[in-house]
């Protein structure tokens, strides 16, 4: 399944905030976690993570510290701030609304399954 670029972009912020809510982390580990969580379904370029992390840092949602990895290389660690927790909660509320609106349009899960199999839905699965 391919997920559209815009949708991935919209998910990126809450996704990264959510991963950091589990504890502080660094770029590569976050990217790896995203890949695990999405089973590779999200088309995600790792490099884009860094400008995003920098934006979250500027907005005060995450704080960053430079440390040294076990390999001896310098590594930047990111941790969620209080403002970040609040932003994450806000994102969750918004996604819950989006989810419930779409759910109402598409009907309860049993109906949705029926629709998926019908020709009415053609095109949406492309």
């Amino acid at each position: 399944m391919h997920i559209e670029k815009d949708l991935v972009a919209a998910m990126a912020t809450p996704l990264v905030l959510g991963i950091l809510a589990d504890g502080e982390s660094y770029g590569y580990a976050i990217a790896k976690r995203v890949r695990e969580l999405s089973d590779g379904k999200l088309e995600w370029t790792d490099g884009m993570l860094y400008p995003l992390l920098h934006r979250l840092e500027r907005q005060g949602y995450v704080s960053a510290t430079w440390g040294t990895a076990s390999s001896g290389r310098r590594r930047k660690h990111y941790a969620l701030s209080d403002a970040g927790h609040r932003a994450l909660a806000e994102h969750r509320r918004q996604w819950a609304v989006a989810d419930s609106v779409l759910g109402r349009v598409w009907g309860p899960p049993s109906l949705r399954l029926a629709v998926t199999g019908s020709p009415v839905n053609e095109g949406a699965g492309a």
């Binding site: 590569y28 860094y50 934006r55 500027r58 990895a69 290389r73 930047k76």
Partner: protein, 448 residues
């Protein structure tokens, strides 16, 4: 592939990233760590090092795209290169090459306008309209460079026309106080009009406004350098011609000054556009040097003020004017510091010093307000007092907001971003106040 081969591959990739002005060395280090860890993991999974390198680099994404994304996030870095995409397109390159020609043409146009002003206008009128003889050309440069849309251009042109009508039609009998106030305040309005062109018409964008503040700081540095160099050159020329018995003073006053002043303005603007990387390193240095020095000066001044005058009531008029200038200087330093600050840097000594500076300036400002209100209560109003009072109020609100937000940042409650938005949102206030002084004060006080 051996490890050294891998290292040289990574070094090449790093060099490729480092050439992008929008990606800072720290960011490169961060991504290199990512790349190496990814390669390590892929190698453990059975790939050869060269295969792992290719897969890792593909997953990281195209350097162009990453660089563009960094540019979007760090406009303060993008500001260095201005064009989002590398200047590979031939059209863009042609524009660059043609740029110096456009700048020189506009400089000549502005010089001709100023020279005509020198010939046709009286001294007072010339001083009033001097900005109008330069600002349209600077604005036109940015309108051309940023390909500004028609609407902002029309609005800005309309403002210039209104300013021209007011500044040339108000019947000042001679250099009265209100005329001098207009001379001081009109350039502020004109500068903001240039700013609208500078930001490409996107004057609502806080980040573009910040770019304009940066531009202003760098422009002042470049203009001062050009003026200094020009002054030395003129001095040497006059001196050497004097030595052989030729007096050049009239040539200098009649020709060199009217041509050099507007010419230097356009060249300075062009230099800031073209050479941002060079001077950008000066702004933080200037801030670091002058913040503590200005604090010392303000404290000394406060001490002298209280001991010598025994209170603000009998303050001299000149002292009040000088103090106003000092407050403007402090505001300039604060803006400089903000523009030079790396958004992600943690709070440091310089941020504390800046808070001390702002608080000291606030104390000075309040003392002056008291002094001025006392003078107004005692002697009645005058154009100078109203103008000074207004400047003080405008600065007081700004400094109070800055102090509050600096403190909140130092205590970890707010990001430096909040202070930045406060300053960028405040920009129009200066314009509105300056416009009010130019438009309303002269008629109210009968052009006295």
């Amino acid at each position: 592939m051996t490890t050294t081969e891998l290292d040289s591959d990574i070094a090449r990739w790093r060099g490729y990233l480092e050439r992008r002005t929008t990606i800072a060395p720290d960011d490169v280090a961060e991504m290199e760590d990512h790349l190496r860890e990814q390669i390590g993991e892929l190698s453990e999974g059975g790939l050869s090092e060269s295969e792992a390198f290719l897969v890792a680099i593909t997953r990281l994404g195209s350097v162009d795209e990453i660089s563009r994304e960094f540019a979007r996030e760090h406009t303060e870095r993008m500001w260095k290169q201005l064009a989002l995409t590398p200047a590979a397109s031939p059209e863009e390159g042609g524009r660059r090459r043609g740029e110096l020609g456009v700048v020189l043409a506009l400089a000549v146009g502005s010089a001709a306008a100023v020279k005509a002003g020198f010939l046709l206008l009286g001294e007072t009128r010339l001083a009033l309209t001097m900005g109008l003889l330069i600002a349209p050309f600077l604005g036109a440069y940015f309108a051309w460079k940023r390909r500004v849309g028609l609407r902002p251009i029309v609005i800005c042109a309309a403002i210039l026309v209104v300013a021209a009508v007011i500044l040339s039609a108000y019947p000042f009998p001679n250099p009265t106080d209100t005329a001098v106030l207009s001379v001081i305040h009109a350039p502020i309005v004109l500068w903001l009009v240039i700013g609208v062109m500078y930001v490409g018409g996107a004057w609502r964008s806080a980040r573009r406004r910040m770019d304009f503040i940066r531009f202003t700081g760098e422009f002042i540095v470049y203009y001062a350098l050009l003026a200094l160099g020009g002054g030395v050159l003129v001095g040497l020329t006059v001196g050497s011609f004097n030595a052989v018995g030729i007096d050049l003073e009239n040539v200098i006053v009649d020709w060199v000054l009217p041509i050099a002043m507007p010419g230097a303005a356009l060249i300075a603007a062009w230099l800031v556009e073209a050479k941002q990387n060079v001077v950008e390193n000066i702004a933080p240095v200037l801030t670091r040097v002058f913040t503590p020095l200005t604090i010392l000066m303000l404290l000394a001044l406060l001490g002298a003020y209280v001991t010598v005058h025994g209170g603000p009531a009998d303050s001299e008029r000149t002292l009040l004017i000088v103090m106003d200038l000092i407050l403007v200087l402090v505001l300039g330093l604060v803006l400089y510091a903000i523009s030079a600050r790396s958004p992600a840097a943690p709070a440091g000594l310089i941020d504390w010093l800046q808070l001390v500076l702002v608080v000291a300036a606030l104390v000075v400002d309040v003392l002056m307000l008291v002094a001025m209100l006392t003078r107004i209560a005692e002697f009645g109003t005058s154009p100078n007092k109203i103008a000074a009072l207004g400047v003080n109020l405008v600065l007081l609100v700004n400094l109070a907001g800055s102090a509050w937000l600096s403190l909140a940042f130092l205590r970890g409650r707010r990001t430096p971003q909040a202070l930045e938005s406060w300053q960028t949102n405040y920009l129009p206030v200066y314009g509105i106040w300056a416009a009010a002084v130019v438009i309303a004060l002269p008629p109210i006080f009968g052009f006295a």
